[in-house]
Amino acid sequence: MKIIEYLSTLDRRIVYLVLATAVMLPLVIPSVQKVRVMTPVAKLFNAVDTIPNDKILIVNIDYDPQTLPEMEPMGVAVLRHAFERRIKVAVLSLYVQPLGLAKKALDQVTEEFNQRANSVADSIIYGRDYVFLGWQPPPIVPLLGMGISISNVYTRDYYGYRTDSLPMMRRIKNFNDVGILVSLSGATAPLWWIAYSQTRFGVAVGAGVTAVSASEFYQYYQTGQFSGLMIGMKGAAEYEELVESRLQLRDRRRASEALGSLTAAHLTMIVFIIIGNVGFLIRRRRDRRSQ
């Protein structure tokens, strides 16, 4: 009993040490964990997969370094999906800080595809297959302005080219030419797309969000305002699973590799909570008896 009581009042530094060990061990030997794909992610995948030929996909990358491990696999998986299906992609950010990360994800995926390509037709070419629109402050400007004209909001892209001169953008005017907009954010950017862009212009919106903020977004998925939803590392792993199984793409799956650590972390926390409660119940019973 004394051991249980001791375990239920552990110094928090011991808790940190045990958790750190549990998280690090599975990362030493990475292995891909298979996951069951749940409906919100499947819906998002299908929404992207069925974009008509004459429409584009917009990916809003608004995660920052803090949420990179959770969110970047989502961005990479969606870009892989789009490029494999030859869906034209426009990438943008509502803030300046995620720009570097958006570029990183684009560079990674385009390099993957171009290394495999056998011809120009197979390759992913800037301007023809994708554009990086960059950032236009304040956030409300693209949210509302793109419903009228994308080229007016982003007159020049991230690299300084005139947007309307890019081959892909010549027949793309506004949200009417967008199949779906997928917003990847650790904050509330997906809700802004719904509140402003979807309400005014009817554009379909999908989202990828962090696990900790998931509860805020479920209600919008339930009402159909989000066409689909990826949540946290597991959501990213589910999308990766679909990309691999449906499109036969076998690139590295970072989110799926990290699920081992996620499992270890959750189980460790559950064990600590159980120990804490057992000690609490023992103490409470002892106190009641002594009364």
Partner: protein
Amino acid sequence: MKRRFPLLLVLIFGILGIVPYYIPHATYQNFDNAMRNDFLRILSAFAIILGLVSLMRVHQDKIKRKRENWQYSYVLIIGFVISGIIGLLGGVEGELFLPTKIAGIQFDIQTLYLNIIVPLGSTMFALLAFFMASAAYRAFRARSIESSLLLAASFVIMIGVLPLADRISTHLPSFAQWIMDIPNVAAKRGITFGIALGGIATSLKIILGIERSWLGGKE
């Protein structure tokens, strides 16, 4: 006048901001676009300058008066100046005229960002996992029936989101998803309604000049 003019501005622009949702006519929409695309962008640029100037003044003052930990203000100012020079004169990836590569070591803004800011930010965010563990260990106690229910639900969710859940029971992931979809959303939706209405009421008070705390102090 010092307080009435800002209140008048808030009243006018508050109403002008609501109107575009109801009037699709091009004349008004063009005016609204001009406000958002031009006017607001210029204001935001000045707000950035305001923030930077304020930051520099605060730290210069700290150095001048030798306040507590004044030495760290030098770190901030020097870092600010150096990264400003590299970014403005060197370009994002070193494409401008300032050289951003010495002896094979790159220090353009993109490299600095990816190798300093990104790991620092990820590290701070990663601390959350440890704080969550210690908070859960300390505070999650089955003190009552309600807290026991909460504890049980949290166990179901924590296991249900793992690949392991499928091996325990094929119904577990679906049950966890149900908890997130139904009871969780119902509660959050209730709170969201309240917050949305509270937001509308507060906005109305600000537009009508009833709420004036943002002006700083009382009249």
